[in-house]
Point group: C3
Chain length 185, copies 3
């Protein structure tokens, strides 16, 4: 099974949209700051940020397809709920104010609750893969001096210690959304 071009485009679009909203919150709340302003910005984000998250969303969707059969049944509410859960958790990372124990515990447990509602085993694997790859990509971005996390949000090699929890929810949600899209074919 393969994802069609329109499906890839939808995954890219909803990932980029979530990234723009969440990142606008993070920049406004001064959780993150962009150091390089040589590229065009959309809202509060340099253009490469939503692009990267969009590509990450496509990648998780493709990973989900390869990991095994998807569950049947289409319900738009599952897809909207999954997307909303990730943007909600993203916003909470901005509002929490730091990456102390309580913030990290809240983000991780919300990610786990999201998985309990949405994930099958392949979805869980997508979540875990995103929880590893996503923060590594952001650590590289910080190392390249393109952006930085502020003082109380940089405990994980310069990025927020809650970031794996957020990416876990992201991976789980994208896997579920991918299942819904495939069911529609």
């Amino acid at each position: 099974m393969r994802l069609k071009p329109t499906e890839l485009l939808i995954l890219f679009a909803i990932g980029a949209a979530g990234a723009l909203i969440g990142d606008a919150g993070a920049v406004s709340a001064q959780t993150t700051r962009y150091l390089d302003h040589s590229v065009p910005f959309i809202w509060e984000s340099p253009i490469w940020f939503p692009a990267l998250v969009g590509l990450g969303t496509v990648s998780v969707g493709m990973l989900r397809i390869r990991l095994g059969p998807t569950r049947p049944g289409f319900d738009l509410r599952l897809g909207i709920g999954a997307w909303s859960a990730v943007v909600a958790i993203y916003s909470i990372t901005s509002l929490a104010g730091d990456d102390g124990t309580a913030s990290v515990a809240l983000v991780v447990t919300l990610g786990m609750i999201t998985a309990c509602f949405l994930a099958d085993v392949p979805g869980l694997i997508c979540g875990l893969a995103a929880a590893v790859v996503g923060p590594i990509a952001e650590i590289v971005i910080v190392e390249l001096d393109l952006s930085e996390y502020t003082a109380h949000n940089d405990s994980l090699f310069g990025v927020g210690l809650w970031l794996p929890g957020l990416y876990f929810a992201f991976g789980v949600a994208v896997a579920r959304i991918t299942e819904l899209m495939v069911d529609q074919e």
Copy 2:
């Protein structure tokens, strides 16, 4: 189909109760402030505030009935969960501290998640109607100098920019509660 007097009374009571709790949080957190003290107060609210929200709750219930058949099945937990979700989101608007992007994104996505759990199409319409009418009513109240939202919570013509998200959840929840009440007849 029509709502019976006792049902209208229940809708009024649960709306007014939620308003009193949420408003006490908003006043204590200094998100909102009442400027006119010429009327009796209940807890932290002038008596007209819970009355207006109670009437708004009744109105949404009546709107829901007119919008089409209600879903069968009574589960008290759905009603309590719906009411609790709105009060929880209301409380979050007080705790967030401002109506910046992250706060608005959190409130709106929580409203969307509430709708994903509870709403059918008529319920969605109730949520959208409440998201338009509720903030307009509050803008009028602020314009009449009866109350004000504080400096960082007044981006939407003097009221919180997260207010439509909160009223959306309110409309969706009241619609679902109305369905449960009608099923009990």
Copy 3:
């Protein structure tokens, strides 16, 4: 019906683990402070704290069994979600910053939502019992000068006014986890 030794051990372990995580958040956020340092500490907690919560978890499990038949059906996601919900609410008590009306309303309504998803009537009784006994135990601990809640988190005889809401969620979650364990036998 009786809980087996391994089941009692599992209940103790997940209770103690949740207590250690939540308490580390509370101590870091300076919601609570330990005054007595004469005993060994694990992470941020004196050894008796996770032990007491572990015993409380076992007690709620035993209470649940006595209150009537448990629901059939095993789903690990229900157990993980229940545990996560309590740790999430615990973390929110640390992040809220005080025990004002909005914080208390948020914690209580989140506890109620948790119950709407998880509780049957015996589970509700477990939640209510925990909401009474848990805070009383903590008030005694504070009276013994072993720990204290900070100035804005001590409205309930020296402990957080949100504490009954947190323990209510705890009792409901433990009851549901107990049902899942018994179903596995």
